[in-house]
């Protein structure tokens, strides 16, 4: 069994942004996503304006170039006015073809 190096793109954002972020990611080529409800505290001076004050954590398995493309789009669109962080970590997967658009 051979492990293939891939990237895990993680985005933690205000829930109100989730659907826009998923649309952008899928338009750019992401084949899937996982969304979980989380809570936490960052240094953004505004609350997310949601009750309860939860955040969405979006995880996307992607190749590096796609992960970077999505991050750039998020930075351009949302960094200025919204509470959002995004980071990439190294992961190993079994079936790379599962994450390629056919």
């Amino acid at each position: 069994m051979k492990l293939i190096n891939f990237k895990l793109l993680t985005i933690i954002c205000e829930p109100v942004l989730s659907s826009s972020i998923l649309t952008i990611s899928q338009d750019l080529g992401a084949t899937g996503f996982t969304v979980t409800e989380v809570n936490g505290q960052g240094n953004f001076d505004k609350s997310s304006g949601e009750i309860p004050d939860l955040k969405s954590k979006i995880e996307i398995v992607a190749e590096q170039h796609l992960a970077l493309k999505i991050m750039k789009a998020l930075a351009d669109n949302f960094f200025k006015n919204y509470s959002l962080i995004t980071y990439v970590s190294d992961i190993s997967i079994l079936r790379p073809e599962k994450f390629e658009r056919v």
């Binding site: 205000e14 109100v16 826009s20 609350s47 009750i51 351009d76 669109n77 949302f78 006015n81």
Partner: protein, 243 residues
């Protein structure tokens, strides 16, 4: 709000969206209060609640979005939402869908089909409402520390606006021929501020507006004020008007 509170156009529009809409929980509390006072409320009030939920949000957000587009040419492309996308966001909000869905289901079912499920809803309702109000109390309480950030002026507005809107609502209710219970509930709806439907819509449309202002005013000031002072006050006014 702009003149009294010296709020910027965007923050004023965000606050207006919250106060232009209604709080369903306050509405339910008003209905329970009227029931306890031995009065009745017109059966069409939930329909009125549904109708009143979104126009205020639309108008305030429309004003805010227009001002924002005029003042800020550096809005990023992702935030430049088309009008239809904004309408879609507001009209498909969970609370509006639930209210409209409830009305449609009620219409299709009719009173007869409600009978078998009535015990489930009517027996458990008050208990569920108590738990929900406790939960909202905890959420509102967690925002009390924000009162220091928003200042005395916004706290005063959070009390004066419901008194003004509620009084107008009761007068209009009485004038249009509603019962004492109906006029009280209409006044309470006018006095209430949305804190579930409006915040996400405002966050999407006016991201520069500070949520601390509008959430603290609507949830930590106006909501408890209406429950404790507003509803009994509007009831007394409605009784006085009815003679």
């Amino acid at each position: 709000m702009r003149k009294l509170g010296r709020f910027g156009q965007i923050d004023a529009a965000a606050l207006a969206a919250h106060y232009g809409s209604v709080s369903a929980v306050t509405f339910i509390a008003a209905n329970q209060f009227i029931e306890q006072m031995g009065k009745t409320v017109e059966g069409f009030m939930p329909t009125l609640l549904t109708l009143l939920e979104s126009p205020g949000i639309h108008i305030a957000l429309g004003i805010g979005a227009l001002k924002r587009a005029k003042n800020n040419s550096s809005i990023s492309s992702g935030e430049k939402k088309t009008k239809s996308a904004i309408f879609h966001e507001i009209l498909t909000g969970r609370s509006l869908i639930l209210l409209l869905g409830g009305l449609v289901i009620g219409l299709l079912m009719g009173a007869k089909a409600y009978e078998p499920v009535k015990p489930f809803f009517e027996t458990g309702f008050k208990g569920a409402l108590v738990l929900f109000l406790l939960e909202m109390g905890i959420v509102a309480g967690s925002r009390l520390s924000d009162l220091k950030k928003v200042g005395l002026l916004l706290i005063s507005l959070g009390i004066l606006i419901p008194i003004l809107h509620g009084t107008l609502g009761v007068f209009l209710g009485d004038w249009s021929g509603l019962s004492v219970g109906g006029a009280t509930v209409l006044g309470t709806m006018a006095a209430s501020a949305s804190y579930i439907a409006a915040p996400p819509a405002v966050r999407m449309t006016l991201p520069e507006a500070n949520p601390t202002y509008y959430l603290t005013a609507s949830l930590a000031v106006t909501f408890p004020f209406n429950l404790v002072v507003g509803i009994p006050l509007f009831f007394k006014l409605a009784e006085w008007l009815a003679g």
